[in-house]
């Protein structure tokens, strides 16, 4: 059995540092197991948030060697022998303690989005081809790794102007829903900050559910925004057809 050298962030909002741990590696072990080993055998007060250990609850988000990842999906055998494994909290959200951050800002953004608004005469029959696009977005486990890596929130701190990729996905899931009639375009343009995204795709790179956030949610939304705000011809046709 080999040992892994881990450096885990210990501290809170007032300060902290990386602490070194040596953890025996077993077959099939993930970074979250290593963190549990440290909690069990070395430092019982190490704070970590987790729940399912099956990459389905989205609680164990952290940064492993600088990459926003689910700890329960990061296999120990993917690190080279002797490689030091850094585990630290999400950088984009306020630190509470050790590996736990306060992600409540995200829930506030969610509340700003107009909920599902069905058509009055909606016939509640849906065909696969109509819901397929939306189903991809429903896979989201709200791990907020995309929010963490998005440079608009992470580097530029534009939480005052941009709701972030996770909520672009939510808006897309509602806007493309065949039975929804709510209009979220003005919100997206004026308050959601769709223009802040420069489609650099880091959100898609880190998504553990492999949602094509940029290609399938954000870019289609940007094109809908072009229809409404920047393309006079599309606007003209849209007005005529919606009147008819």
């Amino acid at each position: 059995m080999r040992n892994a050298q881990m450096r885990v962030f210990r501290g809170d909002a007032t300060g902290g540092d990386f602490k070194e741990y040596t953890v025996p590696v077993e077959d099939g072990m993930v970074v979250l197991d290593a963190i549990h080993y440290i909690q069990r055998e070395i430092d019982p007060d190490l704070a970590v948030r987790w729940n399912c250990k099956a990459a389905k609850c989205g609680s164990c988000s952290a940064e492993v060697n600088g990459r926003p990842s689910l700890m329960c999906k990061s296999r120990m055998e993917s690190f080279a022998e002797g490689e030091i494994i850094f585990v630290e909290p999400l950088r984009t959200f306020p630190l509470m303690r050790d590996l736990v951050t306060d992600v409540s800002w995200n829930y506030e953004q969610n509340k700003r989005i107009k909920p599902f608004t069905p058509k009055e005469d909606a016939k509640w029959v849906m065909y696969q081809e109509d819901v397929e696009r939306v189903q991809e977005f429903r896979k989201c486990i709200e791990c907020f790794l995309c929010q963490d890596v998005c440079h608009v929130l992470r580097d530029h701190d534009r939480k005052d102007a941009f709701i972030g990729p996770r909520f672009m996905v939510r808006v897309a899931s509602l806007e493309m829903h065949p039975l929804d009639q709510g209009d979220r375009m003005k919100f997206l343009h004026d308050e959601g900050g769709v223009g802040f995204c420069n489609i650099t795709k880091c959100c898609s790179e880190v998504c553990p559910e492999d949602i094509h956030i940029t290609d399938n949610a954000i870019i289609p939304l940007k094109e809908r925004i072009v229809d409404d705000y920047y393309d006079p011809i599309a606007k003209f046709f849209k007005t005529i057809f919606s009147k008819n």
Binding site: A13, D17, E129, D155, H156
Partner: protein, 289 residues
């Protein structure tokens, strides 16, 4: 502090008058981080892989292409020989009042199409503008960043119009490729049918360019992506089949973008070599006597 989005609605340019004030005001929204965790310094990251390799190679590739295309556009010779016309100079626009290279009159269309393409935007925002240079690596701009919400990058919204123009140019390039199938001066005269290395290169080029152009995100939206219900009408059902096909191309848009960028440069290079008598255009077969 005024709410940031109010301020942004008033100001169409990407600038912040008093960054210090804004930063103080928005402090309650920013994360509190322990001193040890660097966040704001340019290029700070915990990543130890070669994250810089991707953006650096793309920057190199773009720079080389831009230098080559600029030199060729201004060279104003060796762009046409026999039945081969360089894609940089096609359609050849010749006017009495224009005394410079005809390429300049046409190249702004493919250049504008690529510059506003969603894939290229991603690539050059990372490689040249460093916003961000790579995922999890701090980029530049700080709080005054405003992406594509303000001038200048708000102009990217014209992409679909560039797409319309680019399809016209593409149709002309197909026409040029067809010309390579007949000996010069005998277009559509089937007794002068021929197939040369030039034909091969011209057809490869237009196929790559078509794969790139018709996998465009704006086109994907226009053919059906803008609909919420595919099964509702006969028209929307047809739109869905188009949308699915464009989606297939779109999934590899990055690959098509690079293949077509390379092929268009190579096609021009081949024409230059033939036109300057460095190599002949080898003919595989010809029906002309």
């Amino acid at each position: 502090m005024r709410k940031a989005d109010e301020r942004y609605r008033l100001d169409i340019f990407c600038r912040v008058q008093n960054i210090a004030e804004e930063l103080n005001g928005s402090q309650n929204m920013t994360s509190t981080k322990p001193a040890d965790i660097p966040n704001k310094q340019f290029l700070s990251t915990r990543r130890e892989d070669n994250w810089w390799l991707g953006p650096a190679s793309i920057a190199l590739g773009f720079t080389l292409f831009i230098i080559y295309a600029t030199v060729r556009a201004f060279e104003n010779q060796y762009f046409e020989v026999s039945n081969l016309l360089s894609p940089f100079y096609s359609p050849k626009l010749e006017f009495d009042w224009w005394h410079y290279s005809p390429a300049i009159l046409i190249l702004w269309i493919p250049a504008g199409f690529r510059a506003t393409c969603y894939y290229y935007r991603k690539a050059y925002y990372r490689s040249f503008f460093l916003t961000p240079p790579a995922c999890g690596v701090t980029g530049i701009g700080g709080y005054k960043y405003c992406g594509e919400s303000k001038f200048p990058f708000i102009i990217q919204n014209i992409h679909r119009y560039m797409f319309y123009l680019a399809t016209i140019v593409l149709a002309i390039l197909w026409w040029d490729a067809l010309q390579t199938l007949f000996t010069a001066g005998h277009f559509f005269d089937f007794s002068h049918l021929q197939f040369s290395v030039g034909s091969l290169i011209f057809f490869a080029n237009v196929i790559f360019l078509s794969g790139y152009t018709f996998g465009c995100h704006a086109f994907r939206h226009l053919v059906g992506g803008g609909l919420d219900c595919f099964s509702c009408t006969e028209g929307s059902k047809t739109a869905m089949t188009f949308w699915e096909k464009v989606t297939k191309l779109n999934e590899n848009h990055q690959l098509w973008a690079w293949l077509s960028l390379f092929s268009v440069g190579f096609t021009d290079f081949y024409v230059r070599c033939v036109a300057s008598n460095v190599i002949p255009d080898y003919v595989f077969f010809s029906l002309a006597k």
